[in-house]
């Protein structure tokens, strides 16, 4: 797609680059969170940022998520663009209050007189840390009104969607995937080119990342990579899979999904978040509302089962959707 060579970067560095460029461009952007300053973040996303922008703009906080998330809300109301990190999305239970009742509701409750341009950065995904450190939970945020929910997959999107999130005048929850953060972008199964300059990828536009004719596979976050791997394998078996990367759950670009499904007639939703009452059901329902049931021959879901994630690798592997399991599910549909 692009002739410039892929840089030797980790996903974490790509996000850091986006934040850094936004901080340069707008002095109102500042960061709050645990371990983001001196240590540069437990996944290294904010490395060097405190050295470059000073302690006031890259601030290590105590383990007081309620206070510093609300601090973000107050700062946004006072004219700043805070980027607040909740280290793991699993910890949201100690401060969801400020997210659900303040950050995301104040714009509407105020009748539009107050905007809350705040980004809540957090990390989801399964890397062997068991039930309290492996959740994704984008379905939880997407159920609550008033905030954009952004879950990038490609290196290019990690950067462009972060930039768009910081520039957005609306509150945004930005969920990074721990399965990707420490990896090199070159491991991404599609184009891993990330421009050095500042750019944005708009919120609310899904992307067909692989064209196909037999089945539409809709997914988000790290599972997009797994889906692409599975789709390549199935090509050899004569199954042509179209893969849609949703990129954001809110706003949700159902038109792109519907266009694809109206072509393939079959829909599989893959979700690393819990199966029930989340993304997979929503995508199926909306697609059918769009197209009518007659236009869709088959719907199927493959997601994290509705259990706390077990510690043991033997069980974890049986639970988390992977390229292998995705391929198996597609074979079972054929």
């Amino acid at each position: 797609m692009n002739s410039t060579p892929v840089r030797n970067l980790r996903f974490s560095q790509v996000i850091g680059e986006a934040i850094s460029l936004e901080m340069e461009a707008d002095e109102k952007v500042l960061l709050l969170g645990e371990d983001i300053g001196r240590s540069g973040g437990v996944f290294g996303v904010t490395r060097q940022l405190q050295a470059r922008f000073g302690e006031a703009r890259v601030r290590d906080t105590p383990i007081s998520e309620m206070a510093f998330t609300g601090m973000g809300v107050g700062l946004a109301m006072a004219g700043y663009r805070p980027v607040v990190e909740i280290m793991f999305v699993d910890f949201i239970g100690v401060c969801l209050e400020q997210v659900m009742n303040a950050m995301s509701k104040i714009p509407y409750m105020s009748g539009g007189n107050t905007r809350v341009p705040m980004v809540l950065r957090t990390a989801g995904g399964c890397i062997g840390s068991a039930a309290q450190h492996s959740q994704c939970l984008w379905g939880l945020f997407a159920h609550l009104p008033g905030m954009a929910v952004v879950c990038p997959s490609s290196p290019h999107d990690y950067k462009g969607l972060m930039a768009a999130s910081i520039q957005s005048d609306d509150p945004v929850v930005f969920i990074e995937n721990k399965r990707q953060l420490n990896k090199l972008v070159s491991s991404y199964p599609l184009d891993a080119f990330v421009p050095e300059e500042r750019y944005t990828v708009p919120l609310g536009k899904a992307k067909v990342v692989r064209e196909g004719s037999d089945l539409t596979l809709v997914t988000i976050s790290a599972s997009v990579g797994d889906a692409l791997v599975a789709a390549s394998r199935l090509e050899g078996e004569g199954v042509s899979v179209e893969v849609v990367d949703l990129r954001t759950l809110v706003p949700l670009d159902i038109a792109t999904v519907a266009t694809s499904v109206s072509k393939t007639g079959r829909l599989l939703v893959v979700d690393e978040d819990f199966l029930s009452f989340g993304m997979s059901g929503e995508i199926i329902a909306r697609t059918l509302e769009e197209l009518g049931t007659a236009a869709v021959r088959q719907v199927k879901r493959h997601a994290m089962p509705d259990i706390p994630l077990p510690a043991s690798i033997a069980l974890e592997q049986a639970a988390v959707p992977s390229a292998d399991s995705i391929a198996d599910v597609i074979r079972s549909m054929s």
């Binding site: 007081s64 309620m66 601090m71 700062l75 109301m77 006072a78 409750m109 009748g111």
Partner: protein
């Protein structure tokens, strides 16, 4: 404007001024009460009737660039922060002419120009105020961020987290505690490790003072000190004011949990307006007649405002989705 760093500023408000503020506050709330039986205000309504001396006592020291984040019981703090009373009342009456075009209602008024806001979740005013305090510190101004809380809110986790952060970073946060001894029906003394909130301040190495919140002069004097402390850059402060909530927790609350004589006694003995009147008389600052005239004038103003608000339109149902995201 108060002088920085001085404990007693030059322009101490007169008792007469403070009394006038309290009168307007009382009549504002009484006007709101009229919207309840008519269901013009159709959710539960929390008024500050009985607690006027706290809001009125801090009002003189609040500057335009100070931020104030209040609670479910927020009207008087809005008035103290000089929010347009008419637009505040219109919001309480769910009108399209209200501060928030009827979206917020009485528990969620937002006035960004006056830097006034509120939340209906107990304890949640503190973290948001912390953000305003951090902004002031970043901007190196001497603006103060005020968080108002009730005694009940002092037992929330948000209280501890916010005070610790404010103190660790020396943020210009002033916590005003309206200690009316009850969180709905639960007595502070029965669920709290300390009889006062102020005595928790050493855990945050912060300045604190406890004051009789029915005595508007005492509140104003203590507030002057508290603001001076915070404006002077010495870190956060706490001002705890003991007061009495005259009505049920919300309109419709049967208030069966407070002994009848306790309620009766407080109305007679602890009314900040009556107490101010007594003192005005004692000091020979106003005659009974004058005060009656003032009361009447204030009531009339509130009733005229009410009439105007009542004739305002409700937001059109067609605009239900408006304001949910920027540009919508």
């Amino acid at each position: 404007m108060p002088l920085q760093g001085e404990s007693v500023p030059a322009n101490e408000p007169s008792l007469i001024e403070l009394y006038h503020t309290m009168l307007d506050m009382r009549h504002f709330e009484e006007a709101c009460l009229e919207g309840v039986p008519t269901r013009e205000i159709h959710g539960e309504l929390h008024t500050g009737i009985g607690q006027e001396a706290v809001a009125a006592g801090i009002a003189p020291w609040l500057r335009g660039d100070d931020a104030l984040v209040s609670t479910h019981r927020n009207h008087l703090h809005g008035l103290a922060k000089k929010v347009d009373p008419y637009r505040l009342m219109a919001e309480i009456f769910e009108k399209d002419t209200g501060l928030c075009r009827g979206r917020g209602g009485h528990m969620h008024p937002f006035d960004p120009e006056k830097r006034f806001s509120a939340t209906g979740i107990v304890g949640s005013s503190l973290p948001v105020a912390l953000g305003f305090a951090y902004a002031a510190q970043l901007e190196k101004t001497d603006a103060v961020a005020v968080a108002v809380i009730g005694d009940g809110a002092s037992n929330t986790g948000a209280f501890h987290e916010s005070l610790n952060m404010a103190a660790a970073w020396k943020l210009p946060l002033l916590v005003v505690v309206e200690h009316n001894s009850y969180a709905i029906s639960v007595r502070f003394s029965e669920v709290s490790a300390t009889p006062t909130v102020a005595e928790r301040a050493p855990a945050y190495r912060m300045w604190a003072r406890h004051v009789d919140g029915t005595d508007v002069e005492a509140v104003s004097e203590a507030a002057a000190e508290a603001f001076a402390h915070v404006r002077g850059g010495s870190g956060p402060a706490m001002l705890e004011a003991t007061c009495f909530r005259f009505r049920g927790h919300y309109e419709g609350d049967h208030d069966t949990y407070r002994p009848r004589d306790e309620r009766k006694r407080m109305l007679v003995e602890n009314d900040p307006l009556t107490l101010a009147e007594k003192r005005l008389t004692e000091l020979g600052l106003a005659s009974e007649e004058e005060m009656a005239r003032w009361r009447e004038a204030s009531r009339t103003r509130a009733r005229e405002m009410l009439a105007r608000v009542r004739s305002d339109p409700l937001p059109p149902a067609s605009e239900l989705h408006r304001f949910s995201f920027a540009g919508i």
